[in-house]
Symmetry: C2
Amino acid sequence: MANIRDIAKYADVSVTTVSRVINDHPYVSKEKRDRVHAAMKELGYLRNQQALTLSTGKTQRVVVILPYMDHPYYSFFVDGIAKAALENQYRIVIWQTEYKLSEEQQALDLLKHREVDAAIILSHEMSFKEMVSYRAYGPIAVATVGAPKGISSIHVDHYASFVSGIHVLQQHGYEEIGIILSRSHSPSSLARQQAYFDEVASAREQWIWTGYLTSEDGIRLADEFLSQKERPRALFFSSDYVALGFLGEMQRRQLPIPETVAILGFDGNPIGKAFGLSTMLSPNETIGRQLFETALAEMQGASPQTTAMTVMYQTGTTL
Amino acid sequence: MANIRDIAKYADVSVTTVSRVINDHPYVSKEKRDRVHAAMKELGYLRNQQALTLSTGKTQRVVVILPYMDHPYYSFFVDGIAKAALENQYRIVIWQTEYKLSEEQQALDLLKHREVDAAIILSHEMSFKEMVSYRAYGPIAVATVGAPKGISSIHVDHYASFVSGIHVLQQHGYEEIGIILSRSHSPSSLARQQAYFDEVASAREQWIWTGYLTSEDGIRLADEFLSQKERPRALFFSSDYVALGFLGEMQRRQLPIPETVAILGFDGNPIGKAFGLSTMLSPNETIGRQLFETALAEMQGASPQTTAMTVMYQTGTTL
DNA sequence: TTGTACGCGTTATCAC
DNA sequence: GTGATAACGCGTACAA
């Protein structure tokens, strides 16, 4: 609990000198430097981060805003963010929103109240218009598409990615394709629908299933899918977990894949490999890293930037 | 950027009065209260959290220390912690250690440097002896077994849980049982081995596989398992993800489950349901909640406590 | 009911 | 090289 003043008194120097020693500044005689070090050791000095933070105005913290902690999709982003943050002596504060606007607002209020230096948003309900109003209080980097000037974005180009996924399906001979989306009105879902209608000749509304986020949703999809009279020959998912739920349920019903219907996932979650899931590999950990690095650069004066990432086909046995 | 003094000046009152208004204290005339509110609105006042923190000595933050963000096992704990924390106006800081002692030390240093009020540790390499040396700087709650006095613990009783899992296997007629562990020297692995030798008559060293953490490890296990001349009739895993990796690989090789070998998982990860995995359901989200609540109680003066949780058999088709 | 003055622990400024 | 002293923005005795 000894503070900088106690050290100064004990070493018989000024607090300024102690501060200089702590921060490795020049212009301190070796003799006093040694005395200060000895005093710090003797009294068990520990620098109080809160005081530093108030004094410098920098918190060395970034808030990461995401809807669900327990959805494995997000953990890869967070992993990348966490690694980049730790390497740069930053801490990350996690805020789980469950897509509630009020939670997103509270999380961004951390920026206003100088509790964090920047915000990284993985998915959001909030409009970009509202988000921009927080920009004055610190850099904001998002993993979603459509960010306006002022807000950095490192994201998967969902339109291009879905197009290339559809091409993979078509190269495998599938023309009648259905797609499985998460939230119907999210920008990524809209981009995916657009790609679907642009690239699939037989595209139809009934072959778009929306509201599927978890593996349980995937299980539930089996009934919805099988109950249709006219069914597509292939399903392109927007999440590996949903795809795996569906795949497992089809296996349980002894319906062979891809004979009954081909399955193409999206993400590249390692667990998919165990079940031979064909999928579009998304570089989510890299995106996480870059989100932090972009935010860091902005804190140091750089301009906001937008980067679109692409996905890669990862072969499996479900096509 | 207006601070409490600016408000005071603008409303023509003292800073104390402004502080009282902010914190809803009594003894402020309605008239001045209104003036202060008006001034705050006019100047766009936002309370600086860093200053509050330095002044009160409380950060309203808790650090959560865990080895891997991208291992889905931990996300359920974090989910529970996050929910409980947000309900109590606490923020959580995440520190990913990859089981590196130095990272664990750095994370606990946050406590020393008053950057957080308490620490929650989900899994650790550090000895409890060393951990205790940090206790002086704030409450510590762990999700592991064997915590000494002074350190709170909400954990799965791995010995009892493994015993009950083994009983489930035996009730299904399996006597020759093997077990799959993660890190060989972790307390939970030791408890599981003990349970194994205590309860399984045919227990043998060759039927203990250690070093399996991920689904990829589970895939790899298939070869190790099949190459043994004498094989157990059932495998009891310590993680659903490893079990699923193994299950998927066995399916790929067209080896029927449970005929080739029965599989019992451990965790109760939702994705297991899709593939009919029989497992021991562990209340990890609840444990997360209680970890936070215990830490909070300690911050408010309560004594450290230890609670052991039990797991429940969740039926599937792999036994 | 209100206000003055100080403490929280640090860094930054400026004079010596 | 060194050291007073003023910020940073808030809460809170204590006095009035």
